[in-house]
Symmetry: C2
Subunit: 404 residues, 2 copies
Amino acid sequence: MKFIEGGVCAAKGYKASGVHCGIRKNKTKKDLALIVSDVPASAAGVYTLNLVKGAPILVTKKNIENGIAQAVICNSGNANTCNADGIEIAEGMCALVEKHTGIKANDVIVASTGVIGQPLSLEPIAGGMEELVSSLNYNGSDDAAQGIMTTDTTKKEIAVEFELSGKTCRIGGIAKGSGMIHPNMATMLVFVTTDAAISPEMLNKALQADVQTSFNMISVDGDTSTNDTLTVMANGLAGNDEITEANADYEIFTQALAMVTRTLCRAIAKDGEGATKLLECRVNGAKNWETARTVAKSVICSSLFKAAMFGADANWGRVLCAIGYSGADVDVTKIDVTFESKAGSITVCVDGAGVPFSEEEAKKILTEDEIIIAIELKSGEVSATAWGCDLTYDYVKINGDYRT
Amino acid sequence: MKFIEGGVCAAKGYKASGVHCGIRKNKTKKDLALIVSDVPASAAGVYTLNLVKGAPILVTKKNIENGIAQAVICNSGNANTCNADGIEIAEGMCALVEKHTGIKANDVIVASTGVIGQPLSLEPIAGGMEELVSSLNYNGSDDAAQGIMTTDTTKKEIAVEFELSGKTCRIGGIAKGSGMIHPNMATMLVFVTTDAAISPEMLNKALQADVQTSFNMISVDGDTSTNDTLTVMANGLAGNDEITEANADYEIFTQALAMVTRTLCRAIAKDGEGATKLLECRVNGAKNWETARTVAKSVICSSLFKAAMFGADANWGRVLCAIGYSGADVDVTKIDVTFESKAGSITVCVDGAGVPFSEEEAKKILTEDEIIIAIELKSGEVSATAWGCDLTYDYVKINGDYRT
């Protein structure tokens, strides 16, 4: 299993494109993306649990209810959420795909991201469709990844190659993250494609299991978006024996899927709004998964700890504090805390109490841009990892005036 | 019932003082406070639910288990939490009060606030006791209020006067807040005194009920402190008939208590670390209290919404988003949202969808320093109010380098 280039177009039979159609004012920013499979594909999705749901989510759910999809259309700059005509607009986007590609409207995954509560007009999208469709190509992942970005500073794409029943398979994806990132049973916008042959049922099973340890373990700001969507299409063009049960091939497929989703998770956390650092909290020695994940996420979500990391301040008391209020049932007198980075590793707390350490050494470690917070609970065998980012001036700046 | 001067010394028979003893490096900042009652008083307390608890909390709980206390000693600059010798130090502080005042060590409420996980030495406290005790006086509330401040920019004190069984009674308090403010069943440091006669049982009952709608409804940063403590002492010197049951006097007492606690809540929220604005979220029309409080707190806690308020940006989509992920069971298609301040009032969302409004007018309203977010759920008769503050550059600045 290895990482390869190509993102969402790495797998056989997927074309993509991205254009600026005019939803965003800045003409240098793409705001419309399209991904199509040469043939209909197995499809599965997970969505936000926010009660306020973007209209595109309702339409996408309906369209892939039968486990089949062939295209993804996504705009940035407007979330099409809390709008009276939201469903109509989202369905209109699917109809435009059918008109310009022949792919059936109810085989289209539709998504929107951007400001909530501002009417979205079909006009710019209709005007951009011809360019969008004519520029579809097998190396179009970059363009599509750009088309779904909002305040993201880097595009996020990844792909891996692996083998199933003697056939080379690929799975790749693109994502957008940045702010309002605290997925619950779902995620921000992530589109994954694979040429592996897998039934809709098994694809759905793999996806539901994966998000528990991938996207549900990241947080930028504790705000669960209204539009979180993660979909996977599997078109079977790799020619492997179709996966229809939890066999050895299914295991390999889930590992490949995890390589893709975890890489995108780290990319989303590291590019959190205003972030300067990726924080990775690794919890070991928990008595069960619930405890491990609760502790890891609580630390990653603490505004105080995030601000301390921005300042490269080894304020481990905030780690203990966040564990203590997490709701997890832990023995606080057993907790060890270690900070790690490329620059080294330093243990700051043993058995719930501070130990002497070099502030200078700690500062050096925490000045790096990828920090690991290793927490040992010494109460069992279960581990969990969560990803987040520091809290910075720029987060406040970006969100103090997002709409204008 | 009216507001009066005097803070924690407004009620009869309470002296207070505050000095700089050397725990904090800055000599202009007081770091040790003492409050004493002339006679033993009924006492009740509520404390953090964080599993990591400051050592002083454990000692205070033990000391007022019998419902009696006569003094409060509190230091700032060090939380005496996650220290191996924490209990010993907290008990040492009580012993110092006994040594210098004659009040029994086990009638002392002890509290600490500041950095977690740094050993606290008794030395500076012992050295400061003589000055602390000799400066005790019936107008000492100011000094004590200063002695418990950390990153607070304003001291917080309040008192009210009311009548019980023909006798004038008073109740007053001081508080410290600022960061790590997200109380759960308890609060930051708040010390309340009254000269009303009330049994320990009824005092405890009044306090437990009060915090549900006062301190448990504020949040600065979502971080529940390890040291949250709220205590009330009632020394009975007003001479009213002792309250021993839930009668009319008890109702008056709880109203007076609420006037004190709500004022301190607003003061703590408004002086949240880095805050420029007080946010008050009023939820009406909920089907039950749990729904009302969950919605109000979710809005107040949203980093995205808090940042929007800093920027005076009427980004109401973030209000809907925060309601949607709150976990409260609400009908999102019925929600109205109105922003209010001294400068006016503007409705931005009706029945869960945006309505046209003047951005200019909204900006004017949101530029004020006290903002009300009025949410109408149209599903019942229950209301709740929560208090918070905006998220600013200064919050990041203060917490990026708190320890140095």
